[in-house]
Amino acid sequence: MDRRVEPGGDDVGPMKPAPFEYHAPRQLKDAAELLARLPNAKLLAGGQSLVPMMNFRYVIVDHLIDLGGLDELRGTAVVDGALRIGAMTRQRDLEFSPEVARQCPLLAEALRHVGHRQTRNRGTMGGSLAHADPAAELPAVCAAYDATVHALSVRGIRQIAFREFCTGFMATALAPDEMIAAVDLPIWRLGHGHGFHEFARRQGDFAIAGAAALLDVGADNVVRRAALTLFGVAASPLRVEAAEAQLAGKPLDAAAIRAAAAAAWLIAPISDIHAGGEYRRHLAQVLSARALNDAARRAGVEA
């Protein structure tokens, strides 16, 4: 056993993260109060992104505030035409929630791509949004739905439109003393179509690129509303407004989908060790077409 002796002389046993003080509040207001008061504190949700970074000591905190005991932050409900999801709702619970499948089927489909069953058992909705990885599925879904984030602090609750939530590479509009309490996904009309496709090296890996689509098509085959979001290609999820504008108000057919997917070509994608920009640009177009095709089919249109 590789016991390590810390500078203080304590024999502390095998440890990866730097020492911290652990807090497990039972009341939401206590959690907000701790976050406002404690210096160099971080919130702990499912730990599936934070704890790896602590184990590597990329992240060193003095205080860890565990949200795990806050039942108020768990669960789903329909409020004012939106599906409200508590920040601490586990990804695996959402994956199998009949309510999610019925109201926000795009979210249900995206969840199957978020890591593995073991990480989804612990990982949460709020944790994924706060972490804001550019390749993460759940922020992309929130972007597609034009979600609203409820940010809670000792100062009260502030609503943040998802368009303004992601401010850059793994950065959000949350103030240091704010936590996500819930997120609202506006429910699309029953009978709308959804499509979700990503390309990753292995099932469960972060995507190299992905696309999420929503289509509301009228009985006359005319698109009433369209949303197309790309992820993994920019610092944060990207709504392809040019594609949405091309689809809206026009009849939906194969040519319309081809033209819309071509609009995803215009972006200037990121380039990193996983894939070059050219390749991501190609993927963005291919995956957009697949996602839109699925959405059209589910909306009852054979395009």
């Binding site: 056993m1 502390v12 046993g13 095998p14 440890m15 990866k16 993260p17 730097a18 020492p19 911290f20 003080e21 652990y22 497990a24 702990l44 730990g47 599936q48 704890v51 790896p52 602590m54 184990n55 590597f56 860890l64 565990d66 795990g68 695996r92 890591g115 593995h116 069953r117 073991q118 990480t119 058992n121 612990r122 292995r202 099932q203 469960g204």
Partner: protein, 165 residues
């Protein structure tokens, strides 16, 4: 700094300890309770060797602190064969060459125990998808997948006759 009391039920037995808050559940199991069946490969959530059941659901014990498990029931690989009697799944691993060096095996067994609990009739695709979170450097997975499908069949009481497909 950061000492904390935690009480965890492990394999049906209750343990109360005062530990460093930063002690992972994996190190707690291995070094405090001497349950060394839970293995540590990567210690950042990728390999799955450290998988245990927390309140019946798989979790990576390298990504949980022991203090988070306060009040939880944890099952480790030792809990699969409490009286030395191998579980159906463990026996199927032996019969189907589901392990070579054995390093990944505890995690594989815990993941598949959960899968067989929620999916009694898994397809090969179901098994492979469940195993995406567990890395094996030896077997090439074929034996592990065969073991899982065999165990599922045995648990349903419909064992295929030797030689039949």
């Amino acid at each position: 700094m950061g000492k904390q009391a935690t009480r965890v039920m492990v394999n049906g037995k209750s343990y109360a300890r005062v530990v460093d808050a930063r002690l992972t559940l994996a190190d707690f199991l291995r070094h405090e309770l001497n349950l060394t069946g839970t293995h540590l490969g990567c210690e950042h959530g990728v390999c799955g060797a450290c998988t245990v059941l927390v309140d019946g659901r798989t979790a990576r014990s390298c990504l949980m602190f022991a203090v988070q498990a306060n009040g939880c029931a944890v099952t480790t690989v030792e809990g699969l064969a409490p009286d030395g009697q191998l579980s159906v799944l463990q026996q199927a691993f032996i019969d189907n060459h589901g392990l070579q060096c054995g390093f990944c095996t505890p995690g594989m067994l815990m993941t598949l125990t959960e899968l067989l609990g929620d999916t009694p009739e898994p397809s090969e695709q179901d098994v492979r998808e469940a195993l995406t979170g567990n890395l094996c450097r030896c077997t090439g997975y074929a034996g592990i997948v065969a073991a899982a499908l065999d165990a599922a069949q045995r648990l349903r009481g419909t064992v295929a006759k030797p030689g039949s497909p």
